[in-house]
């Protein structure tokens, strides 16, 4: 087990840097995790992060990229429901990178 | 004797064997065996008949986890983990029917 420190508080992460306890997540932790991924957070990024957290709360899983793309298109508008849009925001994979920043576990089936 | 059963009556015959062999005392249903304590399940009649010979308990957290806490049949008491410990302490022997 590893850990990160944000605002003087320690958070447990797994060996790949994913937060162990997702209830501990807050925006500052999200910002810190984004920094470790070299992602500059904008409103568009937060929109996806918040969407992912809502999705997780409802279904208890992190969605596969295909499912995420489709669901984002439905909720946030068709122009955002493309993998191109999501990869521009999160170049190393929307599911993998955005999930990490959102404090979610790695998506099932994502290697 | 406290008889503890943890397998669903539809998957294994642990409860059936227990009812057939045990000579009375208490039965505590835990884990997947709590389904036996619910109304409308196929083992209901068998277990109901056994209520005259056994005091039957079911573990509440296991019922809740499975969404079955509101359909426990009459005559069966639910206990929490503390009640589980009390039952073990009250009886001279325990048998887990695996």
């Amino acid at each position: 087990m590893s850990s990160i420190e944000v605002n003087g508080k320690s958070y447990e992460t797994d060996e790949e840097g994913y937060l162990v306890n997702l209830t501990e997540w807050n925006e500052d932790v999200g910002k810190y995790l984004a920094q470790t991924e070299s992602v500059e957070m904008t409103d568009q990024h937060w929109e996806v992060i918040n969407f992912l957290r809502d999705y997780y709360n409802e279904f208890q899983i992190a969605p596969a990229v295909r499912v995420l793309t489709k669901a984002i298109g439905k909720k946030l508008g068709a122009e955002k429901g493309t993998s191109q849009y999501l990869y521009e925001l999160f170049p190393y994979g929307p599911a993998k990178q955005a999930c990490k920043i959102a404090g979610l576990p790695k998506p099932t089936g994502c290697v | 004797m406290l008889n503890i059963v943890n397998k669903s009556p539809a998957e294994r015959n642990a409860l059936e064997s227990c009812l057939r062999v045990a000579q009375g005392g208490a039965i505590l249903l835990i884990e997947d065996a709590v389904y036996a304590a619910t109304r409308g399940n196929a083992a209901e009649a068998t277990l109901r008949d056994a209520l005259s010979r056994f005091k039957v308990y079911a573990l509440a957290p296991d019922l809740e986890a499975r969404g079955m806490h509101d359909r426990v049949m009459e005559g069966i008491a639910t206990v929490d983990y503390g009640g589980f410990v009390d039952l073990v302490a009250e009886h001279k022997t325990c048998q887990s029917w695996l």
Binding site: F59, I61, V67, G109 | E31, A65, R66, R71
Partner: protein, 123 residues
């Protein structure tokens, strides 16, 4: 698996949740299979029908409640969920007790459906 080949997969779920790890493992394999664009059907029979029971609250046993994930299957284009009629009845359950839309089928019809599959995996 060569690209473009779509096979008919059926996952047969026969065990109650939480008592063993089969139900959760099956669900994870189903989600992975869906990522490969296959034709996926799910069958819930015997104690497997309990996996879909509404109102599961797992705080007391300190397990993850994975029942909400069945509601996500629709988003994964997994829409073929079949439940054994006799199994429901034997457990005092009806279709209204289930947390997702399913097709209720007789044992005999499920058996026929299984014959049409390319791959059947039992959990």
């Amino acid at each position: 698996m060569s690209e473009g080949t779509i096979k008919k997969f059926m996952f047969v779920n026969r065990k109650a949740p939480y008592g063993t790890v089969y139900a959760l493992e099956s669900l994870e394999v189903v989600l992975i299979t869906a990522a490969f664009d296959q034709d996926v059907s799910l069958v819930f029979m015997d104690d497997g029908v309990f996996q879909l029971k509404k109102g599961q609250q797992t705080k007391g046993i300190e397990n993850k409640n994975f029942s909400p994930t069945y509601r996500a299957l629709d988003g994964y284009d997994i829409e073929k969920l079949y439940v054994e009629e006799e199994a429901l009845a034997a457990r005092g359950l009806t279709e209204d007790d289930l947390l997702v839309d399913v097709a209720v089928m007789s044992r005999a019809d499920l058996g026929k459906l299984m014959e049409e599959m390319d791959v059947v995996l039992s959990f």
